[in-house]
Symmetry: C2
Subunit: 284 residues, 2 copies
């Protein structure tokens, strides 16, 4: 979500203004979350909050108070029951160069955005994708974190501009499948649900972990492993997922075609069942 937000709170103030000394700008020194708001509820709030806090912990940034964040999100969605909340936490200003200041005051940004108008066919019939030429570098110490260093995704997304391609799939520098530019990716082969290992790079998506948990709960075998592109092309089913799109079946990867299959349909139904119930924010 990058368009101008409908409303913004910066450290609780309704002023869309960040000092240019903020380390989020200077170094991408921070983390973010993109949260779907449905029927006035912050979907998977606890999951997003937990990832945000865990990301801050790994970067050594003092996490924002959960209560404060929830209060600010709540104030923004009051008049927007269907929307997107984006939270950004940076290390704040201060210090010189890369060295982290002893006393840094993290910066807290909460933005309210319109929910994108994705065509219903994306969920129902599926989307076409491509394999990006741009590769993801390995970095175990940053892998999984939804941090603000996202030039790799920006560069990969620049590779195509045709509206019939909804997502680009990214390989790492070793040629293994990792994720989509804005999503995680799954394949099904012989009734086993498989998704790439993210130990070396990639973002550990909330919807990725929900899909894995729901699959396990409902007797679908899961496996996290390296996936070569040629193995992907032999999949029975492929889908991508993120917090805004939910699950989109993949019906094309470059020249290869796929069918929306029973496991994808089953997981879509399980997700639809839980959205608006147990997994959405219970504080509202």
């Amino acid at each position: 979500m990058n368009g101008n937000a409908l409303r913004v709170l910066v450290n609780g103030q309704a002023l869309d203004c960040l000092p240019t000394s903020d380390r989020g700008l200077l170094y991408g020194d921070g983390v973010f979350e993109t949260i779907a708001v449905s029927d006035g509820k912050l979907c998977y709030w606890e999951h997003h909050l937990q990832r945000l806090q865990s990301g801050c912990e790994r970067l050594g940034i003092a996490a924002a108070s959960a209560g404060l964040l929830l209060e600010e999100c709540r104030s923004l969605v009051q008049t927007s029951p269907r929307a997107v909340i984006k939270i950004i936490i940076t290390r704040g200003s201060g210090g010189r160069g890369y060295r982290v200041p002893v006393q840094s005051r993290p910066m807290r940004v909460v933005q309210l955005h319109d929910m994108p108008d994705y065509p219903a066919t994306c969920t129902e019939r599926g989307v076409k994708t491509r394999i990006c030429r741009f590769r993801l570098g390995h970095n175990t110490a940053l892998a999984g974190i939804k941090h603000l260093n996202r030039l790799e995704q920006v560069m990969a997304r620049r590779e195509w501009d045709t509206p019939d391609i909804q997502e680009g799939l990214m390989l790492d520098t070793a040629g293994q499948l990792v994720e989509g530019t804005m999503s995680n990716v799954f394949m099904v082969k012989g009734a086993v649900l498989i998704t790439p290992d993210l130990a070396l790079c990639g973002v550990a998506g909330i919807m990725r972990s929900r899909a894995l948990e729901l699959a396990k709960l409902h007797g679908i075998k899961t496996r996290i492993q390296s996936i070569q592109p040629d193995i992907l092309m032999q999949a029975d089913e492929v889908f991508i997922c993120n917090s805004l799109i939910g699950i989109w079946p993949v019906i094309g990867i470059d020249g290869h075609t796929f069918q929306k299959g029973p496991v994808t349909t089953h997981l879509q139904a399980l997700l639809a069942d839980e959205s608006g119930s147990v997994q959405t924010d219970k504080h509202f």
Copy 2:
């Protein structure tokens, strides 16, 4: 340079305020330059400008007008003959997600900072360094660019907080020496000046290219090649360099000690000779 700036221009306006929809914050989607100001002159202005423009070109960002940038830098340094200028160019706001908006208006930030008070002993006697545990990931498409995705450097710089260590040397994920967190690194062996290849990662520093050019001009043999840490430890001389520190001899790397040697001293003298003359900004 990350402390609060003395003065800031954002798109030419004296207002230290960036919208939170700026892609520099959201994705690190931009580039920067850190320029020494000495006797009121922007040192190596043409070199910095050229790298800035080349970085913008590689990221597909419309470069700012050179005349405009120079004018803004000039207005900031008028009352500060010894200072640091930091320029940041981001892709600006707009669009949604990683996709680059068709019509993006780049954001131009020019900050004036105090020149850091580095002890004279750093230049004269040398500095102690360490090898960082944090590794640099490979990414040929981003290698060399001074872009805003700098979490790797931030994380490496967090590894030590002892004032006797001035710099951390970084290896890539393959274990090869690349650079310092804020500097480039050189070694001398058998009268040959050697610096790591930056084809896979690292920032191509202005002072690195000046050191190589000056060496060639004065009959010092140079070589750009992979350097394993054990080869580094057998060097006759080691030094680090950047636009603010110039050249600092390295007299320690973890437990290993080194002496400031003749090639380092020679290059320091050559740099001192040209600073303030041919290589500083001629427009002042």
